[in-house]
Symmetry: C2
Subunit: 532 residues, 2 copies
């Protein structure tokens, strides 16, 4: 029997080979109805998982030293192979996630664009961070040895994708692309909410690896059951870092496992965020209805299932603030619930909304309309005084938001300074607000990874200056980002070579600079070929 | 009463002011005799500690945005003020640490050189990591906003210095210098083994802060009792990172406290290392006596009290290996114990040596001679087979080393792959060893932060390419270094500014580049003034 390369077989893909799991099976479900869809997926047992990790460790020996050009070719090939199966991937992802076709088609573009950006980053090689301090044999009182530094990849990386971006934050998403670009093999734990989408993407990655002659173990896609499987992956001594996007509880559990290892490893978990938006008084002097409309648009986009959903909106007390809240309430009241990613997510949303309703001093501003069919709960808008913001400071994943009424910039600054770490903060601003904004900026910098003015936080650009990160509990490690080219630096560490003979020096740190890299020589930066 | 600025008063220095602790007192002791020396030091209570942290948080508001030039001037001034009190500082450090005057005088130079290197780094500003992706208003399907990224300082940093470098790794050592260079106020917990040295250095820092008009809270030096005091410092929500050099138990305790905080913070703990040295067969074809002499010189330097002391030396089995061991044993047998830093350290050394003597299959090669007077224990050399290396894999801080006899490169590679993370690995090498060395390099890269050829690991150059770090338990975070200019990156994190109006943009990311920084624009690096 010959199968189309883009057919879902219900398998894991371990080092380029289809593997039927022998620890039971599961069905994928449609997001729309929760009904099972074909085929049955086999779940790997721990020995099968071990084989994937072993293959990754094995591949690391050669993959870590691949040249910038070869690594870029691999990433480019992944983008091409995904594009070759675009229709099948989008079709399957629509079925499994319930997200609209246009959105998922766009997400393919985001995913391949991200892979190509990391191909460029790998080719440029600036992440290698080469530093050379040449020997000073005549220095007194003691000569200086020859010292060279480069970043080396940490080793095999475990990736746990997200349900809300079945492509861009999953199998071949940002974590995978940046780890591969940095020289780390990847073992992706397939997400149970979109196993077929994962398998199709994984097959594309495996084809790209074969086509560009990468070691097969450079990538595996493993489907397994439950927490034990994930714990085994994170605990494996050959795994050297973890990328995770998901819930706070899930991220914290992984962090704990990683810290309890004999040799703890970095975990980059992007967990939860309610993304405060600050409406300054001057911003309400303009088009209040337009502002409210943009707010509700951001809130309800994709059923509110974005890490950057605006969950907390600070609005001044008083008449113009009231007008904004009324306008937003009217729009939320008219908004229709969209299909959520899974029945469990819809249920968690309902619980979160009920919790808010039962919270003292929280006023319901508006209830939207439930959508037609199950799993399409109504959007909700609540309101609270700034002095009570602590009561509502929790993520309700979905189209739920809370307006926080503040009385002057002092109260606003205090409330913002006290919130937990967040991915983003947004300021609605007019030039007349300049003093208030100047005062708030350092407060926001302390609490978030990205500050936006006069926009909305949903929509994260994939580029060099992006930060999709922030203080705990937005992420488990605020010193980095999971989106944008800086993300490659998560998976490496520096090594210094002292008086290492020429014949043994890694390519990156040789005097003749065969990879034409940017380098810091005696502390002064010189540009490589691709930076000139 | 007028006192010389370089007189030890027995105080803490909180935000520029002498503070007499009200939670009891301690005396400093001479390393040589363990006798008390004047004056009495008051220990701060937790309210007094709170005042120091509050002052640091307060200072952060302005210090974080000081220009590269001003910050460089501050660091340069610290170096000058330390030099102004050089004689008093060295004299006091000799008394408290027992280290020779020449060594401590050299350490002043290392400390001031390090401060000046970080002054240069701050002035250059490359650590700000500026990235700008300009807006693309005409892009389809969606325009790109204006996105700018810079690194911001984390906030106040707690520093726990080391006893073995009372200047270069203590009050104004590498952690303090790099944190200040990065824009973070510092609260140093004064080391109980050299409180007077600490006070003198702290006073120099405070003078420099006043002279360069820095906020007084930018630096405090706090003497307090025991673990509770240290825990309170690390637990304080206003402290945002920790630098530590010391024992494994001490470092692990701090990591645990930091991870249990409501908002966990990074801890950079440099803890323990036994620094494997690999003698390859070809290296024994040359001057075996010279090699043995260099080894024993490195081992006994400073009573063996270096983090980079060569504690584990892999030597081939067979005749030439035997000759090396015999030569090293003869030299250790003649070596005389030097004064250790504190009576407790000398006792811990004695326990470690006794443990080794009681360990099965460990052969004592040589005992040196105890020095004249207390706290001068004899150097010791042991030997073990490579198959038993796991039995001796623990740090004995002092002049103790174990020769590990290996039988061929396969056994050597396996033994090295299995060791814990280390700061350094050293290879004694001749060109005939090239194949063995090529095979070992990736193994060593995986286990250490610095690889040296034909040298000895003691002696850590302060420069741009240095890595003084390595996998756990050498440090608590392998992704960085505590020595060298890269260390500044430990105390910062990225923030992205999206469509932030010109009038509010931080200096570092403005279009007109007022600080003349190197920047990455649309992913391409362009050189700043100090890199050109």
């Amino acid at each position: 029997m010959s199968v189309s390369p883009a057919e879902v077989l219900g398998v894991s893909i371990v080092a380029g080979k289809d593997v039927i799991g022998s620890a039971g099976s599961v069905r994928a479900r449609t997001a729309a109805t929760g009904e099972d869809v074909e085929p049955t997926f086999g779940l790997l047992d721990l020995d099968q998982l071990d084989a994937a990790v072993a293959a990754a460790a094995d591949a690391f020996a050669t993959y870590r030293e691949t040249s910038p050009g070869r690594r870029a070719a691999f990433l480019e090939a992944i983008a091409e192979e995904i594009e070759a199966d675009r229709d099948q991937i989008v079709g399957r992802a629509v079925l499994e996630s319930g997200l609209p076709e246009a959105r998922l088609s766009g997400e393919v573009g985001r995913t391949t664009g991200q892979l190509r950006m990391f191909a460029d980053v790998a080719a440029q090689g600036d992440h290698l961070g080469v530093r050379i301090d040449p020997a000073l044999p005549d220095r007194t009182p003691a000569p200086r040895p020859d010292l060279r530094q480069r970043m080396i990849p940490l080793g095999p990386v475990a990736v746990f994708g997200a349900s809300n971006f079945p492509l861009a934050f999953s199998t071949a998403g940002g974590d995978t692309a940046s780890a591969l670009a940095g020289g780390c093999p990847v073992v992706v734990k397939g997400h149970p909410a979109h196993p077929g989408t994962g398998e199709l993407v994984a097959r594309a990655v495996a084809r790209a690896a074969a086509r560009t002659r990468m070691p097969a173990g450079v990538f595996s896609f493993v489907l397994g059951a439950g927490n034990e499987f994930g714990r085994a992956l994170v605990s494996d001594p050959r795994i050297r870092a973890v990328g995770f996007t998901g819930s706070r509880a899930g991220g914290q559990a992984i962090v704990e496992v990683a810290q309890r290892r004999r040799e703890p490893i970095p975990v980059y978990a992007e967990m939860s965020s309610i993304n405060p938006v600050v409406v300054l008084p001057g911003a309400l002097d303009g088009d209040v209805d337009g502002l409210a409309s943009a707010y509700v648009g951001s809130l309800t986009l994709g059923a509110g299932q974005f890490c950057t959903n605006p969950g907390l909106v600070f609005v001044p007390t008083g008449d113009t603030g009231d007008r904004f809240v009324t306008a937003a309430g009217r729009l939320v009241g008219e908004a229709i619930g969209q299909l959520m990613l899974t029945p469990e997510i819809a249920e968690a949303y309902a619980r979160g909304v009920a919790d808010l309703a039962a919270t003292d001093d929280v006023r319901r501003v508006a209830d939207g309309l439930a959508g037609d069919g199950p799993g399409r709960p109504a959007p909700v808008l609540n309101e609270v005084a700034a002095s009570d913001v602590g009561r509502v400071e929790r993520e309700v994943f979905g189209a739920s938001s809370v307006v926080v009424r503040y009385d002057g910039v002092d109260q606003l600054a205090s409330a913002l300074a006290a919130i937990e770490g967040q991915l983003t903060a947004t300021v609605q601003y007019a030039p007349s607000d300049v003093e208030e904004a100047r005062r708030l900026l350092p407060v926001l910098e302390d609490r978030v990874g990205r500050i936006l003015f006069n926009g909305w936080p949903t929509g994260v650009e994939v580029c060099h200056a992006m930060v999709h990160g922030g203080p705990y509990p937005a992420t488990s490690d605020a010193r980095t980002t999971s989106v944008g080219s800086l993300a490659i630096e998560r998976f490496q560490r520096p090594v210094c070579y002292q008086d290492v003979p020429d014949e043994l020096l890694p390519q990156a740190v040789r005097d003749d600079n065969p990879w034409a890299l940017s380098r810091r020589i005696d502390g002064t930066l010189s540009l490589g070929e691709r930076d000139r």
